[in-house]
């Protein structure tokens, strides 16, 4: 689903964020991406969302080669990727409903269809009662769940999350991670960048560890999953 082949990224200033990374995330897999800040996690996510283009090497997502993708194709490619951010990136002047509906509106869904799917997404994250609220009226955990609902509302093949639990307490963090696991159970490929090692260790998924732009470890944690 996500294939990096000797992918490197060097920024204009000369900083080498990723050094010849080769890795693969299978369809329907859930992986954690971890490492200190500056290790290259963000760059990896930017490459997958086609915000950045690799300096060398290939990156292939969902069967599409991103190196050669034209600018006009990028929006359509992004519609198949759900993205969750640490600071959730909600539009504060829109209701919860309108925030979640955004990807559907961009893709031109019918109003009836939009309503049904937004409610379904809000129901999954347990915020159906909050659809008319504005984000400021919600707690941090609830805001993050709205962000997740927005990421999954058009049933993307891939769900990416950047430090989704960065601002949450352990209980809420656990809840949010379980939510991702649930989406993964129904077939979504999930990649979560996080440095919450304690939480990651307790979950039975593969962990990709980056250090100074190199992939240092790819632990399958099969033992935990099977045991």
């Amino acid at each position: 689903m996500i294939i990096l082949d000797q992918t490197s990224k060097r920024y204009a200033g000369g900083h080498e964020a990723l050094r010849s990374i080769s890795m693969q995330v299978e369809k329907g897999e859930m992986v954690f991406l971890t490492g200190h800040s500056g290790a290259g996690k963000s760059t990896m996510l930017k490459l997958i969302t086609r915000i950045e283009v690799p300096t060398s090497g290939q990156i292939r997502v969902n069967g599409q080669l991103l190196n050669r993708m034209s600018k006009s194709q990028v929006p359509f490619y992004r519609r198949d990727i759900g993205m969750v951010f640490q600071n959730h990136q909600l539009l504060m002047d829109r209701t919860v409903f309108d925030n979640v509906a955004l990807p559907l509106r961009v893709a031109g869904a019918q109003p009836a269809d939009m309503q049904r799917r937004v409610r379904a997404a809000l129901d999954k994250v347990g915020l159906l009662q909050r659809e008319k609220y504005y984000p400021q009226m919600l707690s941090g955990g609830e805001q993050q769940r709205v962000g997740i609902a927005r990421a999954v509302v058009n049933r993307p093949a891939i769900l990416l999350a950047d430090e989704p639990t960065g601002n949450l307490d352990p209980v809420l963090s656990r809840e949010v991670m379980n939510l991702f696991a649930e989406f993964n159970r129904v077939g979504t490929t999930v990649m979560i960048a996080s440095h919450d090692l304690g939480l990651i260790a307790r979950m039975p998924y593969r962990v990709l560890t980056l250090r100074e732009g190199n992939l240092v470890k790819s632990s399958a944690l099969e033992g935990i999953r099977n045991g």
Binding site: L45, F76, R79, M83, L102, R105, V106, D162
Partner: protein, 331 residues
């Protein structure tokens, strides 16, 4: 998945075609939906924040009302010049040796010329009478020993343009019977010059103020894109195309242009309504009537249309450049 691929292999051409039509259908439906949504939302925005946008479209209205007023002034001057030109005439002062009969005959000959609409003979006595009546100089003129005025033929040309009158005047002035010739077209000339000056001014002012509209809209759009920077990043991240991001701003530009144009028409009509009373009085004092011509409905529509086109174009140019530069960088 496998089945889909099989089907695809079996009827590739058919399927491709079908998918093509579906995509266009889908695209036009998406497009319509978004426009419907934006129409509702942009009107809602204006109703919710009436004063936020009012300043912008008032500036646009003033910028458009100035050339509109200049245009109307020029139009009225042209009308005035036209009225005056009706009276443009050539006076031929005849040689003293010419008899009254010869003078009348010459006048009749002149009437037959195709470029002459009318011509009549004024004897020296007629001229004297007319002059003293006009100047109210009865007693003074009576005190003169002999009549200093020549016999005159007044010629009204068919063509009322300055050059045609001048050509005719030169031609008739060279007739052997004619001692001197005078064209009463000074006022026509002056009015035409004033009209020409106004015409040039209209072009210059329209250009400058048109540019003002473009810049005002451009600046407003620049601030609007800046204010909605986060929103632009988010919609780009969830897969919005460039035109999707641009569209709400074009609607904004459309409303600015429409309101600006409508208010500009209102300002023009209002100013002319204010002027029409005094102008009537002024015209009456000169013994003529002058109906002030205002913007006609098609002209008003043209003004509004120009405002809308200007502001949408300006919005398009500004916003396209702005949103291309706002790349999502949330991570």
């Amino acid at each position: 998945m496998a089945e889909t691929q099989n089907q695809a292999r079996r009827r590739p051409a058919n399927r491709m075609k079908k998918r093509g039509t579906r995509r266009t259908e889908l695209h036009s439906r998406t497009w319509l939906l978004h426009h419907r949504h934006l129409l509702r939302e942009s009107v809602g925005d204006i109703i919710r924040h009436p004063f936020a946008s009012a300043l912008t479209w008032l500036v646009i209205a003033v910028a458009l009302a100035l050339p509109a007023l200049l245009y109307v002034t020029q139009k009225n001057l042209e009308q005035l010049a036209g009225q005056w030109q009706e009276g443009a005439q050539v006076s031929l002062y005849l040689e003293d040796r010419l008899s009254a009969e010869a003078g009348s005959r010459l006048a009749e000959d002149l009437v037959r010329r195709p470029e002459v609409r009318d011509a009549w003979y004024l004897s020296r006595d007629d001229a004297m009478q007319e002059f003293s009546a006009w100047m109210d100089l009865g007693p003074v003129m009576e005190s003169l020993d002999n009549n200093p005025l020549p016999a005159t033929i007044v010629v009204i040309p068919v063509s009322q343009t300055r050059t045609d009158i001048e050509i005719l005047g030169e031609l008739l002035g060279n007739l052997p019977e004619v001692a001197d010739m005078q064209m009463d077209i000074e006022w026509v000339q002056r009015l035409e010059s004033i009209s020409e000056v106004l015409n040039r001014a209209l072009f210059a002012v329209s250009g400058v103020l048109g540019l003002t509209v473009v810049l005002v809209i451009g600046n407003t759009m620049r601030m609007a894109t800046e204010a909605r920077r986060d929103e632009i990043m988010v919609v780009k991240l969830v897969g919005a195309t460039q035109s999707f991001v641009r569209r709400p701003f074009l609607y904004m530009g459309f409303w600015y242009g429409l309101f600006g144009g409508v208010v500009a028409c209102g300002l023009t009509w209002g100013s002319l309504a204010l002027l029409s009373g005094p102008v009537d009085t002024l015209a009456a004092s000169y013994g003529t009537t002058l109906r002030l011509r205002s913007l006609t409905a098609p002209e008003a529509l043209g003004l509004i249309g120009a405002a809308v086109v200007l502001s949408i174009t300006s919005a398009w140019l500004t916003v396209s450049r702005r949103i291309a530069s706002i790349e999502p960088n949330p991570i």
